[in-house]
Symmetry: C2
Subunit: 161 residues, 2 copies
DNA sequence: AGTATACCCCGGTTCCCCACTGGGGTTTGC
DNA sequence: GCAAACCCCAGTGGGGAACCGGGGTATACT
C-alpha cells in the first residue's frame, strides 16, 4: 500500500514472501464497493470509491482501466457515468482480480542457457507455493468479501449501540 | 532473478502474485550446495558456489552474510575458509531461509488512521494467502531439495547412458 | 615473518518499477 | 452549450533490486 510519506492503510502489506501490493488492494477495495452497488444497476463513480476508501482517484482510474480492459468491469461515460461490475459478485474470484492487476510475466526465454538441476528443483517448489496461494484466491469471490464486510459492519453497529 | 540484460536463470521468477526473488533463489541454491557438502564437514567457498550456480560472487557474499547473521550458516575465515551449514539440512525449512532473506517489515504504525472495514476484510484474506504459501515453505527442508536434486541427477544420468 | 587465501564491512552504481500526478480529449445527460 | 465523468498518454520522484569495488582482517601455510 502507499508508502510515500503517507500513512499506510495496511500494516500487513509488506511482510515476507507474499506481498499485497497497493494495486491489488485498491482494486479489491474498489470491487467490493462495486459489488455492494451491483444490485442497484447504477454506475459508481471514481470519486465516490476513492473518497470512501482513501484511494488516489487518478491512480484508481488506471486500475479501473485495467479491470475494464480485462472485462471485469464496464464503464459508462458522460454525466452520471461511472463503473459497474460485468458479472455478479459471486462469479468473480479474487484470483480473477489479482491476476488481472498483477499481470503475467513473459514466457520462458527460448535462448536461455539451461538452468541447473538445483534451479529446477527450487522452481518446482516455488510452483507449489504459488499454487497454494492461488488456491486460496480462487476459493473466494467478491461476494464473500462483501458478506464478511457486512458481517463486520453489523458487529460494529451492535457495539455502537 | 537477474533481469539486467542478462539471461534470466528462471522463467518463473516473475509471475503473478507470488514472486521468487533473485535473493531467495540464490540463497536456496547456495544452501542446497552447502547441504550436499554438509557431510564432509569442510567449508565451501563462495567462488565454488557462485561458479556452480552462476551467481555473482559479490552478491552471494552479501546473501551469505545475511544467512550467517541469522545463524543459518557459519563461516571460516582465512585460507581454506568458507561456509558451512549450522544445522543439518533436514532441520532447516525453506521458510527459515526465505523469511531470513526477504525479511520482515516493520510493526503496524500506531498513528495510522484506522482502516476501513473493507480494508480489514482484504487483509484478512491476504493473511490466508500468506499462510498457505508459508505452509508449503514450512513443509520442505533443505534435505528435501537435496533429495529431489539427487533424484533428478540420477534420472539425467540414466538418460545419458 | 611474510604471503596468499577467503571472509568482513562499507559504500557505491544503474536501472526498473511503484505509487502516484497532470493535461487534455471525448462522450453523455441535462 | 456546458458540466460531469470516463479515456489516453505522459511524466515524476523515490526506493529497492541486482549488482560491483575497495580495502581491512583473520587464518593457514611456507
Amino acid at each position: 500500500m502507499g508508502n510515500r510519506g503517507i500513512l499506510r492503510l495496511s500494516p500487513f502489506s509488506r511482510t515476507c514472501i507474499v506481498d499485497l501490493s497497493c494495486k491489488s488492494e485498491y482494486a479489491l477495495l474498489a470491487l467490493i464497493e462495486l459489488s455492494a452497488h451491483h444490485a442497484s444497476g447504477e454506475p459508481l463513480q471514481i470519486r465516490q470509491i476513492s473518497a470512501q476508501q482513501s484511494i488516489p482517484d487518478r491512480y484508481l482510474e488506471q486500475l479501473l482501466a485495467t479491470l475494464r480492459r480485462a472485462g471485469l468491469v464496464k464503464s459508462q461515460r458522460g454525466a452520471r457515468g461511472g463503473y459497474l461490475l460485468v458479472r455478479e459478485p459471486w462469479k468473480v474470484s479474487l484470483y480473477d482480480v489479482v491476476s488481472c492487476i498483477e499481470g503475467f510475466e513473459g514466457q520462458p526465454d527460448g535462448d536461455k542457457s539451461p538452468a541447473t538441476s538445483e534451479a529446477l528443483v527450487v522452481q518446482g517448489v516455488w510452483g507449489e507455493v504459488r499454487q497454494a496461494a492461488e488456491a486460496v484466491l480462487q476459493r473466494y469471490t467478491l461476494q464473500d468479501l462483501l458478506d464478511q464486510r457486512n458481517a463486520k459492519q453489523q458487529i460494529d453497529i451492535m457495539y455502537y449501540i
